[in-house]
Symmetry: C2
Subunit: 369 residues, 2 copies
């Protein structure tokens, strides 16, 4: 079952049922405008990552401000966006399995859908799916620019794979995917800049070698909210794939020289127990807010710390008992990691100046396949 | 939107789309039977915890083997069980907020619903909700038996709160909730036994003091899958609240003298990239399987380790390249922590001897409020 919306438009924020996913609309719009401002007057485009927001509504607000489309990681996410009217969706990931590829090829009838590969066997599988569906699919080669996860090596291995794509009748070689995920959260800005410089260099070299083989490379895609200013300035990247910038989580805020965005996403929680003087327990634990990137920060409440999570409980402590939140009080928590937090909820509760303004479904919630 | 089922009955397991939540039915039934065997011939009852499974189907299978009802942590879970035919549901948790209490009181018309408190203000709020709904609600006092989270202190503070309940016209004092959550994962069996002995002693003392004040204590509830044999033998506890025993996760298996259950729950994942000789990447990361209790274990594949997770990727490494899983291969992962893993999925895929036998909805998926 879907969960009922925890609020109605017009309610005060403190009337919203908890745990709830709160989107502070003023901060959110500030973030969208700020990113649009960075790209204005450049040749670089934003292709915002929907793995963060999972919402065709938010995709449209990003495209209204100049984004050329959306990225996703999963076919299920691509479906939700295409069905929700997004005309250009890039799967910045490998997709393995005939059933998934058939779903993706079917989508190519209603939206432009592109995809990444790092293995010639996958090129053959996508070619087969595209032929069966009667579509032509743009395919990118993912190169490993330092994450040591997916992707072929830059240079000759990438060129060889691009040639396999270019030789496939129902595919089109579309460019390279060069995202350095692990660099996003490097705290030291110099070390982060060095990591991205290396990714830029690997991309530049690959693009040149592709040209030497007669392969134009329309797209060089990558960048996240922790590093996008470097890729933007590189002269090599053509599309930025930031997603978290729209929400800005607690972990990104821990980067030295944090990204220039405001916290816009919160989990609203209620104090459900306050039976000792320096402890308050809220109704939001692991299930409400994954803790892979640390515990949440209690917004606007200095002296109150979220110190441990169990499945349905979060334990807050205070040094000064006078600061302890009271039983029944509602608190905004800034999640450690926005992407998996959003994926726990069925609804965004959009709030402006203390009042609920909008309810938007997290339409691709759980779209893992 | 709900996600489509990733399988159909009759399919081979390796045809199931991934990531998928696999329930190995032979192992699962073995676990249910094993727990029933522990309680057979005793006066102690199982009230299995549905925070783990979130399914009225699994609740029924537990009750078919003697469980007297179910525990839940959230009103939303209580609703799904009561609507799904479970006649006796205990909320082993505090519930704060008039809207939630009104929902709970409404459920009391169709199922027996009990609830815990650790604050007199909550007794008053439940009394008001019960009166408004025209029902009488059984209420337990939660005592802190070592978790230092929710609960009043054992002894006189618990007795004082019980007297407030007993004096409330629409409530009934129903007993004490004495669950030692943090003891479940203490690795050393002696240290774990000592922690539970202390919980037993606090409960025994509280029950005696309640009797001295003329308050009978029909229920002493607690115990989890890591400790239940101690509470069972205590002579004090009347109801055991184990949940994970049905599935048995990787973290419980790390206890010295692990609980006597088999791994029955798996995340089925596909190798989506294998572009270097000692690395394979699967399509199941943080979003598929929270990592708060460690990374998953790759089932049946010695020499293959799940070493890091990002949102949509899991990185496996092998020391011997000959052991590397191949591109497209499907692997069973044993989740670190079964409860929040189940809560990521819309469907259980029940498998027996390699074939899909049943699809059951995770009906209370996301029921956090």
């Amino acid at each position: 079952m879907l969960q009922s919306p925890p609020a109605e438009p017009g309610m005060r924020e403190d009337e919203v049922d908890t745990p709830a996913l709160i989107l502070d609309l003023d901060a959110f719009e500030h973030n969208l405008d700020t990113m649009a401002g960075f790209l204005a007057g450049t040749n670089v485009k934003l292709r915002a990552h929907a793995k963060t927001h999972k919402s065709p509504v938010i995709a449209r607000l990003q495209m209204d401000r100049g984004a050329i489309g959306q990225c996703v990681q999963k076919v299920g996410e691509a479906e939700i966006l295409a069905w929700g009217g997004v005309p250009d969706v890039m799967v910045t990931n490998q997709v393995v399995g005939a059933r998934k590829l058939a779903r993706l090829a079917a989508l190519a009838k209603i939206s432009r859908v592109s995809i990444c590969v790092d293995d010639p066997a996958q090129v053959a599988a996508i070619e087969q799916a595209a032929e069966a569906a009667g579509v032509r699919i743009p395919v990118l080669v993912e190169i490993d620019v330092g994450g040591k996860r997916c992707g072929v090596q830059a240079g000759p291995p990438a060129v060889a794979l691009a040639e396999v794509i270019a030789a496939s009748k129902h595919l089109r070689f579309y460019g390279i995917q060069a995202y350095h995920g692990s660099a996003q959260h490097i705290r030291d800005p110099q070390v982060r800049a060095t990591a991205i410089a290396s990714a830029v260099e690997a991309s530049r070299r690959t693009v040149e070698q592709l040209r030497q083989r007669g392969l134009e490379c329309p797209v060089v895609g990558g960048a996240g909210s922790g590093s996008f200013q470097h890729e933007l300035a590189s002269g090599v990247y053509t599309e930025l794939q930031a997603g978290s910038y729209a929400f800005m989580d607690a972990d990104y805020a821990r980067n030295t020289e944090a990204p220039p965005f405001q916290h816009a996403l919160f989990v609203l929680a209620t104090v459900m127990s306050a039976s000792s003087p320096q402890v308050a327990v809220v109704d939001a634990g692991h299930k409400a807010m994954p803790t892979d990137s640390g515990f949440p920060v209690v917004s606007g409440r200095p002296g109150v710390s979220y110190v441990s999570a169990s499945d349905e409980h979060g334990k807050l402590t205070v040094e000064d008992p006078a600061l302890r939140p009271r039983l029944g009080e509602k608190l905004r928590l800034i999640p450690g990691h926005c992407d998996p937090t959003v994926d726990r909820y069925d609804w965004y509760v959009g709030v402006r100046k203390g009042r609920v303004e909008s309810l938007w479904p997290v339409a691709a919630r759980g779209a893992m396949a």
